[in-house]
């Protein structure tokens, strides 16, 4: 059953909405879902549809950031040629 969002929705609606959001976020981050979780999303396709547009648009790569190495720590002198 598709549920529409409305302000002041019931706790169960909130729960569904939150769970859908969590599962969509998981997918966005590259994680796997259980078969029942996939089924949950199929069940609440309408909620999924509305939640998709509200997910953060930026890339959520969870890997560590690149970091530069400061090589210029000390001066070295070459032989005068």
């Amino acid at each position: 059953m598709n549920r529409e969002e409305a302000p002041g929705k019931s706790p169960e609606d909130m729960y569904i909405q939150q769970k859908v959001r969590v599962l969509l976020m998981l997918k966005k981050m590259g994680s796997n879902l259980t078969p029942s979780e996939e089924a949950f999303l199929r069940n609440y396709a309408g909620v999924v549809h509305s939640q998709m547009s509200q997910l953060p648009q930026h890339n959520i790569d969870q890997g560590a950031e690149d970091v530069v190495t400061a090589f210029s720590r000390s001066e070295t002198e070459d032989r005068r040629q």
Binding site: P56, Q62, F71, S72
Partner: protein, 744 residues
């Protein structure tokens, strides 16, 4: 005496006259302006000298041109010294050394008589000094010259300067000069006050000649020559500039104390503008001076920066071909490249591109200097554009066997691919992955090569359009075994840290999961994790962060767990990871004070919880409490993983438990508000609805307890029958709580 024939003498003088006339035009005019005023005692002595020269001209003529009717024996009975002394200082003749009379033959005139100029006689005396190398005479002449150099009459000074200049041309007379600080000082002063360019040029030339001997350098240094020479750097006369810079160069090279003196005399401020000149040899000397002055001296480097040094130096690298100049300039840039203020200026002036122009020539010393400089600059150049050509050359250089070249190429590539998706894509397309793998294989024990190479591979395997290509390329070029090997003992922690980060990225590619597992990545990662974690526990009580090889063990914990998290996406790997009894440790890590550690721990638990058995283990370890806490995290990743784990471990739990989870979620930042997500991502702290302490107590009251089961959502899971003995017991605490390990 017999060695000097008449003919030789004549030839010598004729030749000398020619060269002298060719190079100089002053003495003629100078000579005729000698004053006749005899009233002033100051001048009288000197005048007398000149006068006597004129008067005694006949003697000199006699000695050089014995074609007169003088008796040869008489002529040669006086020593050379006596003859010239007689000519120059007749008053000093001792008894018995009679001045030789001349019986001029009116029918015959000597060559010099024919010239009939007093100046020629002066020159002739100099010929004696030069050709016959009489030390005693030189010693007498020198004090005289010293006085003349200080004369008020600029013409006199000019003449004296020219004489001194001539004296410097011959070794013996030069040696006499350098041993007289007085005359060197007089030259310096004459140079400083000279009104005419010719005197300036001449005196500068003198100092230049003297600067080729140690004694000369010392004499110049002691006489205040350095400030005077620095002033000459502002001269509009090119030859003066040349003499000045070359002399200063010799001083900087060989005279102790010269560097400090040049700096004190504001030498740098005068030299940097000279970089705009166009003579390559002049520029080479100037840049070498700058290098000598600024090596190891931070203040000098800042002065060069303040005077526009970086721009001028980069201009030279871009526009000249003279190898020596390019080499000296690259050395200055190398010296400046370790200065945090100069670095960005050099990069902004196009230094990376300019240095990159010279990596494929034939001068090894130039290539190496450019590479070291590029390496130093590279961490300030991650946002530079137009480095395509440089990147390609560097990838090619990864094939070198020269360890210096490899060290630089890997280091520069590592930094230039840092957070720069365009550079990452370019390097991948240039075949960088394969080249870097070969560099790792060839590096062996050399950490200076291996570490940046692995970092570069780590950069290439994430966060750009060809990341997946790069991840596959590592496997296809047989990189995985070589990379896993880097985790072995002895541990060099910076390499271990870079390698686990690379493994994490490689595991993003599903095709890599099996090869990684098969080469034993999982046990190695788990063992490293245990070792690092134990280390952090050991130091937990001291509240001190410990570093090993400059790496904190918390970073290793984070890196290994992060790699295991991604590897756990493959079902077989999940089983192997859980099978190594890692779940209790991961649950413990949820209490870490390091946010990234919490994230990767929640992440790996999230993947492991896909397996029912693991989910139960996770629950049995008391993960619920810290996970509930993590629902409130500002970090959306953490909150998501925490929620997912709770969902997965609550599948078989009571509805009350599931309700609890949903309430926590509802009251967390997972609000129906996209802005809240964005804010969470930008780490703006928001108020927590629930405080941590409340979780340890009994259930906080919430308003949904009276909801009958049949009004719960149509989620099939939630319609499962309530099982009394699976109620969540809040009094069951996790084995390791935050109070016990506050510093986790």
């Amino acid at each position: 005496l017999s060695a000097v024939s008449e003919a030789d003498s004549m030839i010598k003088v004729a030749e000398w006259q020619q060269t002298y006339y060719a190079s100089d035009s002053g003495i003629h005019s100078g000579a005729t302006t000698v004053r006749d005023d005899e009233s002033s005692t100051d001048y009288s002595g000197r005048k007398k000298w000149h006068y006597h020269i004129s008067k005694e001209s006949s003697y000199i003529i006699t000695s050089i041109f014995p074609e007169s009717q003088l008796d040869l024996d008489t002529q040669f009975s006086l020593t050379r010294a006596q003859r010239v002394r007689a000519a120059m200082f007749p008053e000093t003749l001792v008894e018995g050394e009679a001045a030789m009379p001349v019986q001029p033959d009116p029918t015959q005139q000597s060559n010099v008589q024919r010239l009939a100029e007093p100046s020629h006689l002066l020159k002739t005396a100099i010929v004696h000094l030069i050709n016959y190398q009489d030390d005693e005479l030189a010693t007498r002449a020198v004090p005289e010259l010293t006085k003349l150099l200080a004369d008020d009459d600029p013409v006199v000074v000019n003449k004296a300067a020219m004489i001194v200049n001539q004296l410097t041309r011959k070794e013996a007379s030069r040696r006499v000069l350098v041993q007289s600080p007085a005359v060197v000082g007089a030259v310096v002063r004459a140079m400083t006050v000279a009104a005419d360019m010719e005197t300036t040029r001449c005196t500068a030339s003198v100092l230049h000649s003297l600067s080729h001997q140690k004694e000369g350098l010392l004499a110049i240094f002691k006489s205040g020559g350095i400030p005077a020479l620095v002033r000459m750097l502002s001269s509009p006369v090119e030859s003066v500039l040349f003499y000045a810079i070359t002399t200063l160069h010799n001083l900087l090279l060989h005279q102790e104390g010269a560097k400090m003196a040049v700096r004190l005399a504001d030498g740098l401020q005068r030299m940097v503008p000279l970089l705009k000149k166009s003579n390559p040899k002049f520029l080479a000397i100037t840049t070498d001076c700058l290098q000598l002055l600024s090596y190891g001296n931070q203040e000098s480097k800042l002065i060069i920066l303040a005077n526009g040094g970086p721009e001028s130096l980069v201009f030279i690298m871009r526009n000249y071909n003279y190898e020596k100049l390019l080499w000296t300039t690259s050395r200055v840039l190398k010296v400046l490249s370790v200065c945090p203020s100069n670095k960005p200026a050099i990069v902004e002036a196009g230094g990376m591109q300019a240095l990159g122009q010279h990596l494929t020539g034939s001068s090894q010393r130039l290539i190496q200097n450019c590479l070291w400089t590029l390496r130093n600059l590279s961490d300030a150049a991650t946002k530079q554009e137009g480095l395509d050509g440089l990147l390609q050359i560097l990838v090619t250089q990864l094939g070198s066997d020269d360890v210096n070249m490899l060290t630089c190429a890997t280091g520069i590539l590592s930094n230039l691919t840092c957070n720069n998706s365009r550079n990452k894509t370019l390097v991948t397309q240039f075949g960088g992955v394969e080249a870097l793998i070969h560099a790792v294989l060839r590096a062996g024990e050399k950490e200076d090569v291996a570490e940046p190479a692995v970092c570069a591979l780590r950069h290439l395997t994430s966060r750009h359009q060809d990341a997946e290509l790069a991840q596959n390329a590592v496997r296809l070029h047989y990189g995985i075994p070589a990379i896993i090997k880097l985790l072995g003992q002895p541990h060099y922690w910076p390499i271990v840290k870079a390698t686990v980060g690379l493994i994490r990225n490689l595991a993003l590619c599903p095709a890599n999961q099996a090869p990684l597992r098969e080469t034993g990545a999982i046990p190695r990662l788990v063992n490293l994790l245990l070792k690092a974690h134990q280390d952090t526990q050991r130091h937990a009580s001291s509240a001190q962060q410990t570093y090993q090889d400059g790496v904190r063990m918390e970073e290793i914990v984070e890196g290994c767990t992060g790699a295991l998290h991604i590897m756990a996406r493959a079902p077989i790997n999940r089983g192997e990871i859980a099978g190594m009894q890692t779940i209790p440790l991961f649950v413990q890590l949820l209490y870490s004070y390091v946010e990234n550690v919490k994230r990767v721990a929640a992440g790996v638990l999230c993947e492991l919880a896909l397996d029912k058995q693991s989910a139960e283990l996770i629950d049995a370890e008391g993960a619920s409490a810290p996970l509930m806490e993590l629902l409130h995290s500002n970090n959306e990743g953490i909150a998501t993983y925490a929620a997912a784990v709770l969902f997965r471990i609550s599948e078989d739990k009571s509805s009350d438990y599931r309700k609890r989870v949903s309430v926590e979620l509802t009251h967390s930042l997972f609000k129906h508000d996209p802005a809240a997500w964005e804010m969470a991502h930008s780490a703006v702290p928001l108020e927590h609805t629930y405080l941590a302490d409340e979780l340890d107590a009994s259930y906080p009251p919430y308003g949904y307890a009276e909801l009958p089961l049949d009004t719960l959502p149509l989620d099939p899971e939630l319609h499962e029958a309530y099982i009394p003995d699976m109620t969540y017991d809040p009094t069951l605490r996790p084995v390791f709580s935050r109070e016990q390990f506050p510093l986790l």
